[in-house]
């Protein structure tokens, strides 16, 4: 999932140290925690966040759907996010990388592989333009991609 368990405690701990002026400012953090726990933002998770922060359900739902890193649908165990940015495109990435991975897994961007392992997505610039092409798998960034490094990456995702 997009957030590793280590950061969950770190962020929660950090938030606890400081009293926020307004409780609502913890909404994005709460949504991250809920997404981490359930895999995606289930309707129940959204309801729970709303009641804990004492916010209208509609507010929580419309905020959650505004941000592209929050999911309201289940995804694969690994989410591969291929950068679609200009610099990656100029260095033989973007389309080529997405097509390559999609071809190997037999899926198109937005889809999850038949075994439920991998979801393929295309995302905006990852601020790795100097080491393009780039992609993210869950929390890890992979840069300077080549067909060889992509093969190695896919193999590793298949193993564990």
């Amino acid at each position: 999932m997009p957030m590793a368990t280590t950061s969950r405690t770190e962020i929660a701990g950090h938030g606890a140290r400081l009293t926020d002026p307004v409780r609502q400012s913890m909404l994005l953090t709460a949504l991250y925690l809920a997404q981490e726990r359930h895999g995606y933002l289930t309707p129940e998770a959204i309801e729970e966040v709303a009641s804990r922060l004492d916010l209208p359900l509609g507010h929580v739902f419309s905020t959650a759907t505004f941000y592209s890193l929050f999911r309201t649908q289940p995804s694969g165990r690994f989410v591969i996010q291929v950068c679609d940015g200009l610099s990656c495109y100029l260095r033989d990435g973007a389309d080529k990388v997405a097509d390559y991975i999609g071809g190997k897994l037999g899926i198109r961007p937005g889809e999850t592989s038949a075994d439920g392992r991998v979801t393929l997505e295309r995302v905006q610039c990852l601020a790795s333009c100097g080491t393009a092409p780039a992609l993210r798998v869950n929390d890890a960034l992979y840069e300077n991609l080549t067909p060889t490094s992509l093969d190695a990456l896919l193999e590793r995702l298949g193993e564990n």
Binding site: S7, D20, L28, F66, L86, C125
Partner: protein, 415 residues
Amino acid sequence: MWQPILTRNIHLPNSEKITTYFDHGGYQSVRKALTLAPDDVIDLVKRARLRGRGGAGFPTGLKWSFVPKGAGVTRYLAVNTDEGEPGTFKDRAIVERDPHQIIEGVIIAAYAIQAQRAFVYIRGEFFLGVKRWIKAIADAYQYGLLGKNILNSGFSLDISVHRGAGAYICGEETAMIESLEGKRGEPRLKPPYPVQAGLWGQPTVVQNVETLVNVPHIVLNGPEWYAAIGTEKSTGPKIFCVSGHVNRPGVYELPLGTPLRTIIDDYAGGVRHGHTIKAVIPGGVSTNLVLPAQLDVPMSFEGLEAIGTQLGTGGIVVMDDTTNMVEVARRTVAFFAHESCGSCVPCRLGGYRLLETLTRFTQHTATADDLQNLQWLVRGINGITFCPLGAGMANPVNALLHHFDGEFRAHMQVN
């Protein structure tokens, strides 16, 4: 040979650790700043003529001097680590490899404006950056550099880290404030500006990461030393990010005013073998193109404005003679159309139509009407959107249409 100032530590082993930062003179500047009056710190930054590095180049000291004073006012500092403009990757380099340099800038800035609370807003995608921020802040607390009564100065400051969740618009200062308040990141109407009414209606200074790391050096070495770097109107060092068709892409810190050609040829290793430059984006994809005849342009705020473009973020994207400019236009618009917050019609709908039309060119199904429509759409978006994102989308298309008209025509339907 230019000796880096802002990036001098980033290649050290364990550069992110507080002990490494101490070993290389870190936190000396905070000690000095805390012995000065807050207004004197603002004065130093004004005399250094530091301008913001997040895109617009607003004078930093002037912004700080606009913050209302007085005991009863709660003031906030918000640190913009949202870096998302394609072609830009400088802030990420600092956050991941020298976070204490930013914290030092944050403490000094907060002291100058008398804020006791700072918020770090960081892109959700920067996972390592989030971890580095949190660890660095925890260590700074440990050494008495944050929290109550910092270094026995009587000044107190708390910082918390807030992750964005994948929305480029949250880099815009008022959208960031909305997001920090736990809402959709939709820009607010200005004025009032955040320095008057920002987070929870209180005066809030929003500052880019690179801007903040300039501050400790100004305080430590003096404004005269600082202002001697760069040009008259663009002082100090700048971190340029070079990507695209060059041999050595990467971050290069140089004085403002360094010619674009020098950055590309001498630092980024020149354009890849056997090719020539077709066009260069000088400051992130929302800035207008620089053409081959203009490559000697000084990379300063005024130098780029003189040729009709902007320094922006300093994200230089080099495109060689093999580049399909119609695809560059489509990809740029695809970015902004995707990232539009959707709250105003010219941007939301205009962006979508622009993308549809450009896609017809890349698929060779466009007609002469489509070429007209592109121009019409650009005019319909430019200048009337709620925030600058709309212009950021329309301007590059306008420039591409102007300079590469033949290429667009060649992409039209053949019949």
